[in-house]
Symmetry: D2
Amino acid sequence: MFDGVEYESEKRDRFIFSHQSKFQMKVLLYANRLTPRNEPFFFEVLDSLKKIHAEIGVYKDIKDHFSERNEKQIEDLEVIYDYYQLKENPYQFLLSLGGDGTILNSTLLVRDIDIPILGINLGTLGYLSSVEKNKIKEAIESLSKGAFSIDERTMLQFNSTPVLFREENFALNDFSIHKRDNSSMITVHTYINGEFLNTYWADGLIVSTQTGSTGYSLSCGGPIVAVGCKNFIITPVAPHNLNVRPVVLSEDVSLTFKVEGRGDKFLCTLDSRHALITSEHELAIRKADFKIKLIDLEKMSYFKTLRNKLMWGEDLRNKLRQ
Amino acid sequence: MFDGVEYESEKRDRFIFSHQSKFQMKVLLYANRLTPRNEPFFFEVLDSLKKIHAEIGVYKDIKDHFSERNEKQIEDLEVIYDYYQLKENPYQFLLSLGGDGTILNSTLLVRDIDIPILGINLGTLGYLSSVEKNKIKEAIESLSKGAFSIDERTMLQFNSTPVLFREENFALNDFSIHKRDNSSMITVHTYINGEFLNTYWADGLIVSTQTGSTGYSLSCGGPIVAVGCKNFIITPVAPHNLNVRPVVLSEDVSLTFKVEGRGDKFLCTLDSRHALITSEHELAIRKADFKIKLIDLEKMSYFKTLRNKLMWGEDLRNKLRQ
Amino acid sequence: MFDGVEYESEKRDRFIFSHQSKFQMKVLLYANRLTPRNEPFFFEVLDSLKKIHAEIGVYKDIKDHFSERNEKQIEDLEVIYDYYQLKENPYQFLLSLGGDGTILNSTLLVRDIDIPILGINLGTLGYLSSVEKNKIKEAIESLSKGAFSIDERTMLQFNSTPVLFREENFALNDFSIHKRDNSSMITVHTYINGEFLNTYWADGLIVSTQTGSTGYSLSCGGPIVAVGCKNFIITPVAPHNLNVRPVVLSEDVSLTFKVEGRGDKFLCTLDSRHALITSEHELAIRKADFKIKLIDLEKMSYFKTLRNKLMWGEDLRNKLRQ
Amino acid sequence: MFDGVEYESEKRDRFIFSHQSKFQMKVLLYANRLTPRNEPFFFEVLDSLKKIHAEIGVYKDIKDHFSERNEKQIEDLEVIYDYYQLKENPYQFLLSLGGDGTILNSTLLVRDIDIPILGINLGTLGYLSSVEKNKIKEAIESLSKGAFSIDERTMLQFNSTPVLFREENFALNDFSIHKRDNSSMITVHTYINGEFLNTYWADGLIVSTQTGSTGYSLSCGGPIVAVGCKNFIITPVAPHNLNVRPVVLSEDVSLTFKVEGRGDKFLCTLDSRHALITSEHELAIRKADFKIKLIDLEKMSYFKTLRNKLMWGEDLRNKLRQ
């Protein structure tokens, strides 16, 4: 794709970048909310990239953040405003500076443009961000050497009549429908490949990707789906019928929904974005045609991240039962 | 309280009506939504009461229902419009015609007026309605003979600054706080008798009475609390931290809450009523000073009702594991 | 495989038998526990098969059942005693007379011999048995016409040092490890493809196939995995750490386990069989090299069976929350 | 009870010791498993008690531990061997050196002898042990000044025909029945005050006290019951029917059980002790006639302990949903 760099396919959706010759990296820096506390890490990234003579661009939110200061280090960098501009002017890597939420947002910019994303974690340990903020230099060095692998992650694609979320109709984590206006549960008629699955009577309903299985779905009793699995999960939120449990499906299915309820409006979400729907809306979910590529620098074990995030190693309660 | 009738206290909040002499019953009929399908049962109740020369009143919704028809059987009955009128003009019994939801609504009319409620179930089997619609005559006969017991049920009392729900600030089933505007969880700081309990980070939080334990709280993983227990339950809705589990408390505690979140408004419910709150509201829950008295005609076992409602007797899945 | 019959591949592991010419069916009848109540159905199956001039064999348990009676209808039928005899002398179909448990047992006879199994359900509705006992004639007619499809189901293969379960080292539903001798939890060190997954501290641990996801795993909080998904599920039984949740994996992984605990012996199960293990045992689970083929006559929807078995259509509790 | 010391009753089963004059404390030291790592703390306790001229006794396990060493500091101390000896020769306080499990064991020695127990925690933070090992001196000083309160905890009493657990037929945490020999679930017929509650079809069944609600019951989906609540909890272990959920009861009920299953023997536990039962056993549980008195030195908040033990304060997963 870029000179001197080639993907090699590997088991379970991983691709290895193998560095073959000298080349100039072109890197886009992405952030949504730089703060005084975060800024030093931004400049550390910038410095590290300049040292290796990388071509550098910044997302408009970063430009906006520094706009009143006439920050010289930013001045000459290319600014990327949206998907269309990026598509015409592609980068080799996107560095997301923030937490997992920032990575989610960056997918709206990247979409089907084939740019691998590296998460540099400026907050608490995330599932998706693989670089801690005290290892920025090492990370950029690894990047420049091609010493990393890539995890391809399935995205959900959402379609509806009438149209909602326009071109930003996909999600890396989950889609959900939820009651909104009052205490009444909603009724969600659900179909798989056109076949009736169930009528859910609940506070809401989640469709999660493998990636999203450790998020909202987990809070509602859904399972953890290991990386590499080709699955969606349908998880009801507070279902009235206690027998109604999360269902794991192939990610190749197409799902359709109709909602009913006492309220006029219901909430519909894609990752952290939301819209209002009515019982008139016809909603559909299927796998997007493209994947998001996450850079995994340290080959940090997926299960080790799980154990850390979920504190599986901790003795939560006393050992009476032992 | 009424001539010829006296309560006798019994274990676990039950009181027995013992009939001591002839007296004229005074009965208030309550319903919210009479339908063509339900009307025959209403008239059956009316006829049965007239036969035993009961004094009969109807709630305004019933009067309204028949208002355009000049229904003669209704014409001469006293109409009760609200709590204040009822307080001046008390009845011996209230007959709630509908489901458990109708009983919930009737508590807004009765409040602390000491009128026992008999639920005549016009829908599916309820937890609170003890008389099936094909046993109306027998039920009214039992009532007239004093052949019943009474379950006293604790009510939640809600207070807030600024004021919400005005005088209808109590609930038989549950109080809840819930996210509303977007996909973000809310943060609920919770105090017991002024002491910090926990900061919940979740879709919402439920405080349930013993009566409400088989409702919304159960859908969110709360336990069933048997009748007679003096407990409240705090049940989080889809909490982010998987260790955060339902907590059973004495019903003598006072609970206070402050809510934070990304949205401007949050949903706050008392049984099936709702209001919008902001992070400015200070919310408090404690046991109401009065109890609701439910008439139990058949001494139907609480646990038998549970087994039926929750289908504990059914073999849900195949017996592979046996 | 047999004259006049060919498989056609279809999506999601289904194969369609298409009937192409006249042929004589060769059918093995399998049952473990015929009872006076079940016998008439056995004879109905026998009669129906004789009418279409099928070649018929019976499993030894059936022969044993009738051994003292000199039942003439059985006398001349071939008797199949074990896997090795069956392998030399293959049948076209196996008819399992009983419930899902009987089908599980029949897989011990069939193993990797490529004989499709049709479950004739003599008890309550099963997940695996597709023919109700009042539709025996129609079922055999469909069979003879080739009017059915086949679901291929993944089996677990178990290996251990020292050896356990000898040649019957596989399971259609699940493998489990469980505490046995006292109230103490056990410690299960678990590895995926040699990489450390987690140390479970719990009553036990289940590894379930897609097929077994509606069994023991579901009782312990595991998800329902839809037919066609290529997944295993690891579900802890009563884990001490509340964050430890079921994990869905690709069925292509290999899993290894070491157990520790206060007791000397622990329980280890494959479907309904069990053995005792110690902390000296090294246990391993992976996908078996063969599939079990289940005949689906009526193309009964998987999700319809789920809804029926799990009573998703029922209103379990009152509709207060609506 | 002892000279110079009196209980004052307080809300929620708490009693305050108020020190009124000089008196000599009589303290029994209890431990089950002293280790080289724990010994220094034992001697620190001993020294602290000697300094205030307390009369000191040791439980036989401590004597045994030092038996081969002729440890001089132990030599002259009174040794308590069992309940009967202790009953004739009562102590003012029992100091339990170990974890919550050690406190559980100490209740077998104390039973209905009215000796308050102070847990000195030599392991990880317990629910019941209120003194950390680095605060031993301060703790003994508080004890000597009467600066503590007492939590009275309800005990379960177990009775059976034929007799099991002889005189040690009670539990501070929980009673359970469990399958043992094979993979089959057991059937537990359960009665409350002689009335049929339910037939549980499950791996097992737990009856927990308020104290035990954070133990085994919590692992099986039971609620946390706050200190001061007068409740038992019935929690099924891996029930087949997903509607069967934990039930909170008044602690004044009497419960009876009959067990059936494919195995010959089932496991029956009281705290960490166990026995084997058959389907012939009739089992009964009720509240014991005595309470266990736990000393709470620091008036450490019950809810603070909960939050620490259950890590409610931790952000377990990323904040994507926020």
